[in-house]
Subunit: 479 residues, 2 copies
């Protein structure tokens, strides 16, 4: 078959696969494209854009984070650009750029970070694959002599000289080093769920056929796999209730005056800490979890009462929107991280994955079980970017919760705070307790610790949280 | 009636109004709160957050743009945070901060910009009100003596001293100047669609009742108004087709070789321009409009073929998502503006308001008619932030369009590009032409000009666009 006929056939299959993807929205595809100068990286991507429906493809090319003056966690910008189910995203270099650029240009800057970066990449790709984003990785190459000849030809004519950038020339000059660094990175990040594919870029038709066939096969395989996966998805396991209960009743009772004084003092302490110069280079993430009516909202208002409104955001988390559901579950949290100098206070969090989604069976057992490690990694990346992370479980007793529900229902002004969902969750009180216990056990890390707060007395709980936040800031702002 | 009973009654009505808003999603409410130290600004807002469902209220407080090192158009961050229909957003200072902060601290920096800022604020509020975002503006005040006494008391106790910030003390010290600047700004920005309300902050209960009643009345009035407006909304007027037609056939025919050579040369010119150092402080917005099959996609690919993938984003615009529909129509474009040094290429644009929305009757006549001025203002704000804006109408003839539709339908690989919508739009070809003519006449500004490109010959059109972009960059990058 002639090349042009084969290309047309490929194009047809690709288009069919994309149309099905757009319609069924069962998964997303992220394509990483790296390559050597003149091997046809841009040409291949441009053809994809011409062949397929560009409304459902986005192309991303970003400068390497390590070489920029940027404090955000390196993976944040990739998370932000992740394709929703039904969409294709093409990344030039993608999350490999943060390794490749310094490895080539400033190996010293990379240094000890290399191993950690590789671990982050592998963890990201594993999580994406689990969460419905297929990852396909292509590397276009040409032999050194071909590359040199092509660069020479392009530079010889005034009309085509612009096609060879300074970067291309640098890469061509360091051909051996580039290939060595790339080879070792590819070896370290080749995995069953995200294979590297090397494509010979010598012949324009052949490289297009090779790259296109890989994309087409990835799409078709994923379509088949999703069909099977949906059929086989295991039911979320019933949770065996743990016998041990959280302490919900505080040891001491506070009278109103005592409380008011302590509150004012602690708020003052927090206010002064938040104004410290050293805060400008840090950021704070506070995560609040607890049963309905545990007092999260009231506690959060006592915190924000001490902060400048310019310095904090409260992020209320409820059931995910359709857009959020179309992305990996951590996506919506990556988008709400605080800037430098700021606080982000989450009223419910990413722990929903191992709480409500586990208990109510919204996530398959395998999915919430791997979430502990994914969340630990997520928080580690925040802490590595000098974000202070603290997590609070407000432990309210079953009787006290019932009392609060009933009070709310009797009060016209608070009735809206209790709905059928809350009662449904209450019936699963014991299962939630067990889930919370597992969660704390498996995600209580040195770098992002949990504080369990007895919350049957609202005043006590508020002061405890304020105190813990103040202590954490006092401690962290010295570092 | 005792204060506490009145507060409970108010709380009840507020909650009812918010619940209705959340359910019906007929409008959004933006509340601007400014105020003098100790007048109870934060206290009032905190009460609202306690009373209402905080999942549907967001609070925003931002540093003034003019005093930051930020190149983005000042209004961009407000657009990004606008509440969707059904939501309430509270802005501490909001878009007034960009005026107030420099007016107080660095009047010289403000200087001639003052008038322009006021005009931008008024235009923004007018547009928001038209587009379903009600704007309520509150200013909390206390008499000078009260303020001084309160600050003295707070500072006298170690426990409460933190409540008086350095900024508060500065504002108290310059009481007269603060009030004068605020008064004149309020006077300049008081309008029927967005009134200023001064609230006496002396008594904590009274200020809460006053502020709360204003919010409640705004919500209730808006509920009524929306009900009437929906009933009365005028039908989009039928468009009288203009007799004059665009030139669609180019004067010259190009052979393949000539075309290839010119394309390569122009792409080279564009590539070199895009790499200029002066580009780093600029950004480029290219807007493409034209009938279906006019060749927008192919033209855009010839532009991006000359650019570094890190430097551009192509933004395909199709029918708005539910989230986009819940916001003013310019919202989704404000979110896709280019960073410094970058190109944003829009495949269809904000002009949809005066093209498809007008022709198909998706927007009321009054709405698309005021859009010309709104769009001119939008583009002016971009240009004022040193963004280069160029707009292209690809004029394809009715016969040529039909030919392309038929070719696409016969080609399995291109069939997906023509759907029922395209045929429906084609039946309105003449109406679209008239709409395009009006659009160009009313939005062809010096700072953001249109280029009408005869597009019956694809090659000719591509070269024309490339040339126009190169000329614009050559010209602008000197500035």
């Amino acid at each position: 078959m002639a090349n042009s006929a084969r290309i047309d056939a490929l194009r047809n299959r690709l288009l069919t696969a994309q149309t099905r993807l757009t319609r069924e929205k069962t998964f997303a595809l992220a394509i990483i494209v790296i390559g050597e100068p003149t091997a046809g990286r841009s040409e291949v991507v441009n053809k994809f854009l011409e062949w397929l429906d560009p409304k459902h493809i986005s192309v991303h090319a970003l400068d390497p984070v390590l070489m920029q003056d940027d404090d955000d966690p390196p993976m944040e910008r990739y998370w932000r650009t992740l394709p929703a189910r039904g969409e294709i995203a093409i990344y030039f270099q993608g999350w490999y750029e943060d390794y490749l650029a310094p490895a080539l240009h400033t190996p010293k800057v990379l240094g000890r970070k290399a191993e950690r970066l590789v671990a982050q990449i592998k963890q990201l790709e594993r999580m994406l694959t689990h969460d419905g984003v297929r990852v396909l990785k292509l590397d276009l190459r040409v032999a050194r002599q071909t590359q040199q000849a092509r660069i020479k030809t392009l530079r010889a004519s005034k009309a085509t000289r612009w096609r060879v950038t300074r970067e291309d020339r640098w890469l061509a000059k360091h051909f051996g080093r580039v290939r060595k660094v790339t080879d070792s990175l590819m070896k370290a990040t080749d995995a069953a769920y995200a294979r590297w594919h090397v494509i010979d870029g010598t012949d324009p038709d052949k490289r297009l056929l090779d790259a296109g066939s890989l994309v087409q096969r990835e799409l078709e395989t994923a379509h088949k796999r999703t069909a099977t996966a949906v059929a086989k998805a295991p039911k979320s396991g019933a949770t065996k209730a743990s016998k041990r209960a959280f302490v919900t009743r505080p040891p001491e009772a506070l009278d109103g005056e005592q409380y008011a004084h302590e509150l004012e003092t602690l708020q003052g302490r927090l206010a002064l800490l938040s104004r410290k110069k050293s805060m400008r280079k840090r950021a704070v993430v506070l995560a609040f979890e607890g049963m309905d009516a545990a007092g999260k909202g009231g506690t959060i208002r006592r915190l924000t009462g001490a902060l400048d409104a310019r310095q904090y955001t409260v992020v209320p988390i409820s059931a995910p929107t359709p857009e959020e559901l179309a992305h990996p579950y951590l996506w919506r949290f990556w988008r709400r991280l605080p800037d430098r100098g700021e606080f982000a206070i989450f009223d419910r969090t990413w722990y929903g994955r191992v709480l409500v989604e586990r208990v109510r069976g919204f996530a398959a057992a395998a999915d919430w079980q791997r979430a502990y490690a994914e969340i630990n990694e997520f928080e580690l990346q925040l802490v590595e970017s000098r974000i202070i992370v603290r997590k609070f479980w407000l432990a309210v007793g079953k009787d006290e919760q019932l009392k609060r529900f009933e009070e709310r229902e009797e009060d016209a002004l608070k009735r809206f705070k209790v709905d059928q969902e809350d009662w449904a969750n209450r019936r699963l009180y014991d299962a939630y307790q067990a889930a919370a216990r597992d969660m704390i056990e498996r995600t209580n890390t040195d770098y992002a610790p949990w504080t369990v707060v007895p919350a049957d007395d609202k005043r006590y709980a508020r002061l405890q949280v304020l105190r813990a936040v103040c202590d954490a800031l006092t401690d962290e702002l010295k570092k």
